[in-house]
Amino acid sequence: MNKALLEVSGLSMRFGGLLAVNGVSLTVREKEIVSVIGPNGAGKTTVFNCISGFYTPTEGTILFDGEQVQGLKGHKIARKGMVRTFQHVRLFKDMTVIENLLVAQHLQMNTNLLSGFFKTPSYRAAEDRAMQNAAFWLKKVNLLEMANREAGNLSYGQQRRLEIARCMVTHPRLLMLDEPAAGLNPNETKELDELICNLRDEFDVSILLIEHDMSLVMGISDQIAVINQGTPLASGTPAEVRDNPDVIKAYLGEA
């Protein structure tokens, strides 16, 4: 068994009178792909927002690499190596593809103002490294020809891939994907499937996934957590989850 990278236990999120998430626990081990599934409105994205620091959870603990991170601000969590995508693609639409990737490397570049004004060798080297890293990932997601296009002009599938590349240039340890296959055609979904597996195998990232596309989830997940109406319903390997009568009931209704 690999070491646990992300451990969420007893996570609850209350919005006024609404308990959107109630006692959800899940664990992502290193180099593992874990999926969170559930019917619409089950609270999957809320769980994501709590983990990635966009919400402060009402209760529960989140351990990232053994360190408590619940309640930290979003950008702090991202700096620890947990980077996410969004259900509705959030690119910097008026900026070019390559600029999107350079913004993401803002922290890695870490150059001071003066060196940038005078284009010192160290500044050039940092900029060069960032460009090469960006080029590498553009090639990986097959967008190299689009490098100088504005991100908003890409097709939907390309935008989805760019969003993943933008996360990957930051060298994350945990990649959180919120419905990455939504709006993709079967072909693109297959490519995404391969890309996600490749990210895990080649770059040692763990992946936490929210997805509706069952074939994708069942095919690539190591573990699956099912949430229904904010409460955990079942968890286990894809085979266990598929045969769980509660899950079938939640998805298909009472027979």
């Binding site: 991202a78 969004f86 008026d94 913004v103």
Partner: protein, 421 residues
């Protein structure tokens, strides 16, 4: 179809009423009372004709509109050569020529023209500075003139109380304006859009009212006068040196005194300040910090998810933008020799904002062109007297209808990818 007829009649009546009151009556003075009298026949004829034109235009508006399609302005891009190394070389030559031209021009131009050019350069600096906040970071700032005032008063007060010279005051003005930008940044961090605009508007007014009422320090509405002009390495541009031991410029070089030396010197100083501003901001937009500003404008949630701290990014935009206004203000005070809160009213903020919007948000070339347009055109239109502002307003309306993206929309930098395989 009697709808156009009604609207045409209505327009004509409105026109007639307005014109009758505005133009058709002359005021005669008899002693201390004003007696309204009907204007001459010619005026009334003109009013009648104008009313007829309005009526006919409204009646046949649709037909006229379909006849004359508004010709679209030629795109600037099509006039420029293709992207690539050839283009960058050409642009470099063009930029170099323009810069050289700017340095040679004042020696052949009239004093009034140089003065106007200096004023234009101040507005260019202000426009470029506000462009950081509004154009790049997307934070609508309606109180930008406050930082301009901070810069101007910094120099004026320092020279008044502590006899600080222009060159020492220049960086202090920039820093102090930046500090004010930073301070304003804090309370508005959570705000965006309209709310932000209102708070910045209030900030601008607070600074102006403070300057107006703190009479002991700032002289209130009387302002501060006799602010010394900048010197050139200790050489003053006056007929006689004001300070003991100083030599005036003309004596040092053994040339006869000429008041235009000072004007040209101020102009050249402004050119240098603007060139520095342009270079610094050009670099900023290609640096991580500049890209972060734009990313924040585009999507602050995505920014956070990538580890960018929106608070820091916003504050740097406010601070940087304000510092340029501070420099511009310091120069303004030195050039005018006199400042009062009157110079820093809301309309100034509005004009600077108009420069940014008209030029094209985020675009440096656009902002420079718009600053020239907005300062030179009102001067050229002086012969139209009271219709000047009307023409000015009309031009802005047409510009926005024609090119809502601005004169020269911002172009994304083309970045060459080097893939070492």
């Amino acid at each position: 179809m009697n709808k156009p007829i009604y609207s045409a009649l209505f327009s004509a009546v409105v026109m007639l009423i307005l014109a009758s009151f505005l133009l058709g009556v002359d005021l005669e003075t008899q002693g201390i009372t004003l007696i309204p009298e009907l204007a001459g026949d010619q005026t009334w004829l003109a009013i009648g004709l104008a009313t007829l034109v309005v009526f006919l235009f409204q009646l046949f508006r649709e037909q006229i509109a379909s006849l004359i399609k508004l010709p679209s302005l030629p795109s600037i891009d099509s006039m420029l050569p293709e992207e690539g190394p050839k283009r960058t070389k050409l642009t470099r030559i063009a930029v170099a020529l323009v810069i050289v031209g700017m340095f040679i021009w004042p020696f052949f131009a009239s004093r009034g023209a140089i003065d106007l050019a200096t004023l234009t350069l101040i507005y260019i600096m202000l426009g470029l500075g506000l462009n950081i906040v509004v154009g790049l970071a997307g934070l609508l700032d309606l109180g930008y003139v406050a930082f301009y005032a901070v810069g101007a008063y910094t120099y004026a007060l320092l020279s008044l109380y502590y006899d600080v010279s222009f060159w020492v005051a220049l960086p202090i003005s920039g820093l102090l304006a930046a500090l004010f930008g930073f301070l304003l940044g804090f309370p508005v961090l959570r705000l965006r859009g309209d709310y932000l605009a209102i708070v910045t508007l209030g900030f601008g007014e607070i600074i102006r009212i403070l300057l107006n009422n703190w009479t002991e320090l700032t002289g209130g509405p009387n302002g501060i006068s006799r602010i010394p002009k900048p010197d050139l390495f200790g050489l003053e541009f006056s007929r006689r040196a004001k300070e003991e031991g100083n030599v005036p410029f003309h004596e040092f070089f053994g040339i006869p005194y000429d008041a235009s030396h000072k004007v040209i010197f101020l102009y050249l100083l402004a050119v240098i300040l603007v060139l520095i501003t342009v270079y610094v901001i050009h670099r900023l937009t290609r640096m991580p910090i500049g890209r972060a500003w734009e990313a924040l404008r585009e999507d602050d949630i995505a920014c956070r998810s990538l580890g960018l701290n929106p608070t820091v990014v916003k504050l740097t935009a406010f601070t940087m933008g304000a510092s340029f206004a501070g420099f511009a203000g310091c120069f303004f005070a030195a050039r005018q020799g006199f400042i009062s809160p009157e110079s820093f009213v809301f309309i100034e903020s509005a004009i600077i904002l108009a420069i940014v919007v008209l030029g094209g948000m985020g675009s440096q070339v656009g902002v420079i062109l718009a600053a020239i347009l907005l300062t030179v055109l009102p001067e050229l239109a002086r012969e139209f007297q009271e219709y000047r502002m009307l023409l000015f307003g009309l031009m802005m309306v047409f510009m926005m209808a024609w090119r809502p993206q601005g004169l020269v929309p911002m172009k994304r930098p083309h970045l060459e990818l080097k893939t070492h395989e």
